[in-house]
Amino acid sequence: MANGIAADSTYESYLAKKGFTAWALTTDHKRIGIMYLITISFFFLLAGVTALLMRYELLTPELDFFSTTTQYNVAFTLHGSLMVFFFIVPGIAASLGNFLIPLMIGARDVAFPRLNLLSYWVYLVGTVILMTALAQPADTGWTFYTPYSVETGTNVILITLGVFVLGFSSILTGMNFIVTVHKLRAPGMTWNRLPLFIWASYATAILQLLATPVVGITLLLLIMEKSLDIGFFDPAKGGDPILFQNFFWFYSHPAVYIMVIPAFGIISEIIPVFARKPIFGYRAIAYSSFAIAIISFFVWLHHMFVSGISETAAAIFSFLTMLVAIPTAIKVFNWLATLYKGSIEFHSSMLYALSFIFLFTIGGLTGVFLGALAVDVHLHDTYFVVAHMHYVMIGGTVMGFFGALHFWYPKWFGKTFNELTAKASWFLVFVGFNVTFFPQFFMGYQGMPRRYATYPEQFQSAHVLSTYGSWILGLGIFIMTVNLIAGIFSRKVPEGNPYKSLSLEWQMPSPPPHNNFEDIPIVTDWTYAYGKK
């Protein structure tokens, strides 16, 4: 599909230079991508451990593992904040986006390499602030709702400051990617030939750029209220606590799509490769990412249907929430149609992609229950919401992320992992995830409220099942992690293009040379011309 890619066997890989400064001061997008990957994976595992502790506590209705309810509340606050702000928001966008965007569009680096390095270091400063906050963690939940977050004696300021700093990294990365996609596409790489991962990253970058400043300002106001006693949100000081919820969700709803749209991109890359078929409905998938990005700015009130908002506002936001389901459904149908008359290989990354379709469908459909006003009143703040959110975030984003780890692994390291172990760990992850979260839909409809350290006895059997599931899920992720780490030390060198992909990043040696392309390639066809005669 492309001409001009050097297949020189004596190239120097981007991994060749060793030493601390060669990494810490690098402007190579690939190294920065790998540094993000390692950092976010660390936070993912840490946040996963807090989840296991919570699930362990919930084996019995009474408090027995933690010694105070506050410890449990701290655990879910850490779990939510780490997962959302330190793993899933920067996760796929920054780590995979950094590594893949220049390679996929035929560029030598991102538009602003030094700004890119700065973004990483700003992210790291944010995480360091957060790690300091771990000594005295907050107990507000990751949503920091006022006035509780103003009144609590726990250390809310440090954790919000960490998130605030982190926001800058997100904004800078978003801007960098937008410029990169606009200005650095190789000749012939027209908008309609772009890989869908690029479309998804582009839509995500716009969301990051426009939405993140709002949460930054909101958290700054909260910090000012707590430290300088200015009454923005606390009614005791003349503020309005609902204003905080409006501000917070104005960012955090689009953020849900910052988290999941990159995964849409990954799935759109993996499925055509292993089905040896062009993606079905390329434009429908590309444009629906944009439709989702735009509509997602106008649905935030659906987090507040029981907070006392007006009926008219509720009606408008319920309507818009239903609209956002449409482009999402279109994507699922298109991925499914891509399989039709294909030649399907079940590589571990394909297993993650296929389970993504199934789990994300459940996540999306249960969102429709929550979009229907009268039903949301019953389900709001119950385990139904917890289950829905995890079906979207784990069933969607994390499945996409795991799929990407297995798919691009040979590209990153020039090594490969044990495929059988990878399949076995996929199976444990898939089963464990469903056993953990499916019972929570029923628990939620029966009325089990979320964020409960202790709970009424009638919910115990469902909680026990859910905890058993979390052990299977934890085991699966543990085996997967070990397998992926062990792969780096393996001697097995995969073929240059093991899946016979047509995408640009597979047309070069693995790991890629320091400068990506000797000569900038000239693109003559789209990325998905599988089986074209």
């Binding site: 309810t69 429908a284 499914l336 030649s343 409809y445 409220p449 599988y530």
Partner: protein, 315 residues
């Protein structure tokens, strides 16, 4: 109805259940459809040989339109139905009986039109619409009764309201569903739906909380105190097993020497406990925040005596 649907005990419940049922049927249909094709294609088009022929299909406009329009129509139906049911939830009938609800960390207080008050136990009459006028004394809470399918945040800024007509006698759980701190998961109450006769008896009863109906005043004091311990929300902050909570544990409290914030020491005897229940901030134990609500006018002297007797059994 299957067993995962909680009992429906208000006039608003069946609406919510019907919409849920409709969305469930649609969801199961689409989920089965998608899973079917996912598995069917995976088997039928699995790679049998490396050079297997594949079709070059890039899309089909007609099918894109079909699978855009059909879900859109269904979603609009769900939206409209959800909104219609929501409107009913928001419009209480004019003759609804009003109850003032005050939420505070971590209990529910109810004030009735006839001057009665109760903590964590609400009394309503079967078949009679009730309108709750709710406010919070501190942070945001949320009032939720699963069997009624109603929920409403309770705010410290302005009043919020919620209504329902109970349709079955019985006792139903009230949960706080907006995270409100250490005692959030213990901020539980009960709605007692009484028959018209029992309700009339409760209205006439002298007891503040209406134990004449719930039963309890005829129990031995220590047992009655044990009931009150959970019914009135003491358990949210005071443990029985020695664990430190928001307040001091009740284990071994009676007769213990307590160090107060002003440095002095008291012995927790009958009079100290009575004073601390009625006016908690009078003699604060060192190391705890002054957050306990005053129970003066809420618990009767008899009830306080029962609680003291219960405390004596907690060694």
């Amino acid at each position: 109805m299957t067993s995962w649907i909680p009992e429906s005990a208000s006039n608003l419940a069946s609406n919510v259940d019907n919409i849920t049922l409709f969305v469930t049927v649609l969801s199961v249909f689409f989920c089965v459809l998608i899973s079917f094709f996912l598995i069917y294609y995976s088997i039928k088009y699995r790679r049998k040989s490396e050079n297997q022929e594949t079709a070059y299909i890039t899309g089909n406009e007609l099918i894109e339109i079909i699978w855009t329009v059909i879900p859109s129509i269904l979603l609009m139906v769900i939206f409209a139905w959800g909104y219609i049911a929501f409107r009913e939830l928001k419009h209480p009938p004019a003759d609804a009986l009003e109850i003032n609800v005050i939420a505070k960390q971590w209990l529910w207080q109810f004030e009735y039109f006839n001057g009665k008050k109760s903590i964590n136990e609400m009394y309503v009459q079967k078949g009679r619409p009730v309108r709750l006028i709710m406010r919070s004394d501190d942070v945001i809470h949320s009032f939720f009764v699963p069997q009624f399918r109603v929920k409403q945040d309770v705010l410290p800024v302005n009043y919020s309201q919620l209504w329902f007509t109970p349709t079955k006698t019985g006792t139903y759980d009230i949960y706080c569903t907006e995270y409100c701190g250490a005692g959030h998961s213990k901020m539980l109450g009960k709605v007692n739906v009484l028959s018209p006769e029992a309700y009339a008896r409760w209205e006439r009863a002298d007891e503040f909380g209406g134990d004449a109906v719930a039963g309890g005043s005829d129990l031995p004091p220590a047992e009655r105190g044990e009931n009150l311990y959970s019914q009135r929300g003491c358990n949210a902050c005071h443990s029985l097993d020695g664990a430190d909570g928001v307040g001091p544990t009740f284990k071994g409290l009676f007769g213990r020497e307590e160090k107060l914030v002003d440095g002095s020491v008291v012995i927790a005897d009958e009079n100290y406990i009575k004073e601390s229940i009625y006016v908690p901030q009078a003699k604060m134990v060192a190391g705890y925040a002054p957050v306990m609500p005053a129970f003066k006018g809420i618990l009767s002297d008899d009830e306080v005596t029962a609680i003291i007797e219960f405390l004596k059994t907690q060694k």
